[in-house]
Every structure is written in structure tokens, then in C-alpha cells.
């Protein structure tokens, strides 16, 4: 495309079917403790 460059493959919708295993780190355990930040957590689901 000439005008648009897409940065990612956008898997959010797909994760509706295969996500939710809950094995990932709880966000407040990683560093924050006062400010909820979820999007920077890593996914640990190998089957996604």
C-alpha cells in the first residue's frame, strides 16, 4: 500500500477463541503495584 503501513498482524480477535488460559503474569506482580498496565504483559499461551 502506498498510503498506509500496517505495523502488526492484529491477533486480538483471534485470541477470543484460544485465549484465556491465565498462565501469564499478574500485572501488579511485574512492577507496577499502583497503575494497572496490562497491554505490556507477555502472553504465555503456546497454543494461541
Amino acid at each position: 500500500m502506498k498510503h498506509i503501513k500496517t505495523l502488526n498482524t492484529a491477533t486480538l480477535k483471534k485470541s477470543l477463541r484460544k485465549g484465556g488460559c491465565g498462565e501469564c503474569q499478574t500485572s501488579c506482580q511485574s512492577a507496577c503495584k499502583t497503575s494497572c498496565t496490562v497491554a505490556n504483559q507477555s502472553c504465555e499461551n503456546n497454543n494461541r
Binding site: 486480538l12 480477535k13 484465556g20 506482580q29 496490562v38 497491554a39 494461541r48
Partner: protein
């Protein structure tokens, strides 16, 4: 839902429900604002003075193609999924163990008072810690990875119990098919070589509290004798970070109204050699002298942008570091279930006091109405548990129409309660700062990719 913004000379378009992120030229940036509101001919008419007609038509075709691929103007596919989401069985997978309600620092802004959470100074016994581990295993269902953060107050004031709890958990994790991940959040005053060695051998992550420049840190983080903590802890933290190969730790600070120029503090920590840095806004009663106010937002936004630019520059020079709030994985981040549920406080994540009482998270400890049970009897306040279980981005009216809801996941329940007395509300200053951070985080990725650097 579309969110578009310009940051550091990059035009970015975010398709909220697919999570797609696009870098676009000025033509598309303008057209996208009217694409779903006007007919093609009207759009051409509107912009033909500004852009070449051929470019307008081509841009419209590209937008349409991405719409058909569900990468632009994607409808919300998640709300229909909510009933199933809310029916999920609650499991507990993480505990914040308050091994010490006592502290050897008296930080001005501490939400725990002077570490005692406005109650009695106390230390957790091994018996309580052991019961907490048993409680976690018993309530974790089929989750394999279980997390325990040793917190306080200052957990190094009760380090023998920390060790005993870890030894106990390790002795039984295999038979229960669990994998414990221990973390510790410390102010560093009592760190020594022996403790460092133990931490490196046993802790998955370490959070080291330090606010930045010496004068900034020492103004708010001081000992009982009012002596600043910077000189005591910086060498210890540097040694610890190096001994962990600069991985699996965070130097974690707080900025307040005293240092609105906090980008300098982040860069100072990077200059001290730390590669994993998190500096976060203080959450304080509105009337506190050091509390952030709405009128501070413009300067704080500038600071985040300045920091983002500095981070890009340093990455290009091979001097990069991670800033916790700018870390974002656009392609394989958390699934939508996690993004809906947020931090999991009060359901997946609980805090345990030295006496064994359970609270939704460390920030609710000591507020009587949030007492959820104890490690012996388990969760006895099931209505409170249900309230937290129901807490998701669609349950919060302010979040429903917010473009950032899948990045912050509804924000911090404790902040919302503190400011509005309701966990389903939001803390406005926190929201505005979070949105700015997400924009900067996306801009960094775009800029680095554009210039051929991987993030």
C-alpha cells in the same frame, strides 16, 4: 472504533477492536476522520483542494481494503462474549504476601503509612505464610504458574520467613503440578551479598524501589532519622542488577508533584546503568502537597513524549533500556480475556496480611469493608469476590467508549475506589496519563520500525 493521533511527526491510526495499528500519510489521516460518515464523492469534493484527486481515490481504496480485512472500522466482537466471561470459575493464581507491616524507611507518599497500613506494626509468621501457600494451591484450579510477591512494608525485615515460605512452596509444587514464581519488592536498605545471592537463586523478578535523581529520591524516601536513602541503596541496586545480567528486575520509582520533570529521573536511572526501569505517577489524596493535579497534565504529557524521543535515540545508539510503561507487544500481547479482566485484583490476585487476612490487593489492605476472608477459612466474603469478578472494561461506564480500554483494561480498582468510592469508576488523571503512555509506546514502535531498528 478508531483512534488517531500524531506524535513525534508520525500519523498513527489505531483500530481499537482488532488491535491493528497503522502508520498513515497525511491524506489517509484526514480521510479516515470522515470515511464512515460521508460518501466517496463528498470526501473527494472536501479534500480536492488539499490533495491530488488520484491520491484521494487511492487512499480511499486502501482504507476500504483494510476495512474488508477487518483491520479498520472493526465492529466490537467482544461484548457478546461477556456472559461466558463472567461465568468463568474464579481461581486464585497470585498472592501479594505482606510479610512485614513495618518499614525502615518513612517515604512521604506511602499508601501503607509507614509500612504498617495504618494498623499495628507486625511481621508474618511462617505458619501464616505456609497457610497462604496451601490456600493458593487449593484455589488455583488447573493453573500451573502461581505467583507470590513478597511485599511489605519492607520484606527484607522478615527475610527468614521469606526463605521458609519459599522452601515450603518448592517442597510441594511438583506433587501439585505447580510452578511457583517468586518476586520481591524491596527498598534495598537491608540488601547485602548474602541476600542478593539468595534472591538471584530464588526470585523470578525483583522490584527495587528508587525514585531517580538523588535530590528527588531523598526528598520523599528517607530513613526514620530523615536521612535520604539514595546513597545507601544505589550501589546495592547496581550490584544486584548486574548480578542478574540486567534482566528480570525493575528499578521502580514514583514521581510526584515535586518532580513533574520526571523524564530526567528515568534517564538518570538509565545513566546509572539500569536497563529495566519503571517510574510511575503517585496516587495520593487530592489535597496532598505532592499529589498530581489535573493542571499538571500538559507538562506530564510533554515529559512522556520527551522520554519517548530520548528512548528512541538511545536505542539507535545501542544504549537502549526498557521503560515499563512503554513496553508493548502489538502482535502477540495479552489475549482479549486478560484485557477485559485487567489486573485480576479480588479474584485472581489477593493480598495477605501478616495475620493471614485476605484483601483484594495490597492497596485495599486495612479497609474493613474489603476484608475478604483469611488463609485458614478461605474467602468468606463472596459478595465482594463477585463484585471484583464482575469488574471488567464493559462494566465501567467511562471505559466503554474509551479507545485505550484494551491497553489499560479498565485501570486500577483501588485508584477508582480512592477517588470515587466505587471500583467500577475510573481515576481521571490516571486515565489521561495511561492514554498518553500508550500513544508514546506505539509511536516508539512505529518510529523504530520505520528507521529499520527492531524494538
Amino acid at each position: 472504533m478508531i483512534h488517531q493521533f500524531r506524535c513525534n511527526n508520525v500519523n498513527i491510526v489505531l483500530d481499537v477492536y482488532s488491535g491493528a495499528v497503522h502508520v498513515v500519510d497525511d491524506v489517509v489521516y484526514d480521510l479516515i476522520q470522515v470515511f464512515d460518515k460521508k460518501e466517496k464523492e463528498q470526501i473527494i469534493e472536501q479534500f480536492k483542494q488539499k490533495y491530488d484527486e488520484k491520491d484521494i481515490i487511492q487512499a480511499l481504496e486502501e482504507i476500504q481494503a483494510l476495512k474488508e480485512e477487518e483491520l479498520l472500522f472493526t465492529e466490537d466482537p467482544y461484548e457478546a462474549f461477556l456472559p461466558d466471561f463472567e461465568k468463568r470459575n474464579p481461581v486464585v493464581k497470585a498472592l501479594c504476601l505482606h510479610v512485614a507491616h513495618d518499614c525502615n524507611l518513612q517515604c512521604k507518599y506511602c499508601f501503607a503509612g509507614e509500612g504498617e497500613y495504618h494498623g499495628e506494626r507486625s511481621l508474618m509468621s511462617f505458619e501464616v505464610g505456609k497457610k497462604a501457600i496451601d490456600f493458593l494451591i487449593a484455589h488455583s484450579g488447573s493453573r500451573r504458574n502461581l505467583e507470590v510477591d513478597f511485599f511489605g512494608g519492607e520484606p527484607l525485615m522478615n527475610f527468614d520467613v521469606v526463605k521458609q515460605v519459599i522452601e515450603y512452596a518448592r517442597s510441594i509444587e511438583k506433587e501439585h503440578e505447580k510452578n511457583f514464581r517468586f518476586t520481591i519488592t524491596t527498598n534495598g536498605v537491608l540488601l547485602d551479598e548474602e541476600k542478593q545471592k539468595y534472591i538471584n537463586e530464588n526470585m523470578y523478578n525483583v522490584v527495587l524501589s528508587l525514585d531517580g535523581r538523588k535530590e528527588v529520591n531523598d526528598r520523599v524516601r528517607y530513613t526514620v532519622n530523615k536521612k535520604g536513602s539514595y546513597d545507601i541503596i544505589v550501589p546495592k541496586f547496581q550490584a544486584l542488577a548486574e548480578s542478574r545480567n540486567q534482566e528480570q528486575y525493575y528499578v521502580r520509582g514514583t514521581f510526584t508533584r515535586y518532580n513533574l520533570d520526571f523524564a530526567k529521573d528515568v534517564l538518570h536511572l538509565a545513566d546509572l546503568g539500569f536497563k529495566q526501569v519503571s517510574i510511575e505517577p503517585v496516587v495520593a489524596p487530592k489535597e496532598a502537597e505532592y499529589a498530581l493535579q489535573k493542571e499538571d497534565l500538559p507538562i506530564l504529557f510533554e515529559q512522556y513524549e520527551e522520554l519517548a524521543k530520548a528512548l528512541i535515540k538511545r536505542k539507535k545508539e545501542g544504549q537502549g533500556f526498557n521503560f515499563f510503561h512503554f513496553m508493548i507487544d502489538l502482535s502477540q500481547g495479552p489475549c482479549v480475556a486478560k484485557r477485559l479482566a485487567g489486573c485480576g485484583s479480588g479474584s485472581e490476585y489477593l493480598a495477605v496480611t501478616p495475620e493471614g487476612d485476605l484483601y483484594p490487593c495490597h492497596q485495599f489492605v486495612g479497609i474493613p469493608e474489603f476484608l475478604m476472608g483469611n488463609v485458614e477459612e478461605g474467602i468468606t466474603n463472596s459478595s465482594k469476590q463477585k463484585e471484583f469478578q464482575h469488574c471488567n472494561v464493559y462494566a465501567k461506564k467511562d471505559c466503554r467508549n474509551c479507545w485505550a480500554k484494551f491497553y489499560c483494561s479498565g485501570g486500577c480498582a483501588a485508584n477508582a475506589y480512592q477517588f470515587h468510592g466505587n471500583i467500577l469508576d475510573t481515576y481521571e488523571i490516571g486515565c489521561e496519563l495511561e492514554k498518553k503512555r500508550v500513544e508514546c509506546a506505539i509511536m516508539i514502535q512505529a518510529k523504530l520500525l520505520e528507521e529499520g531498528f527492531s524494538n
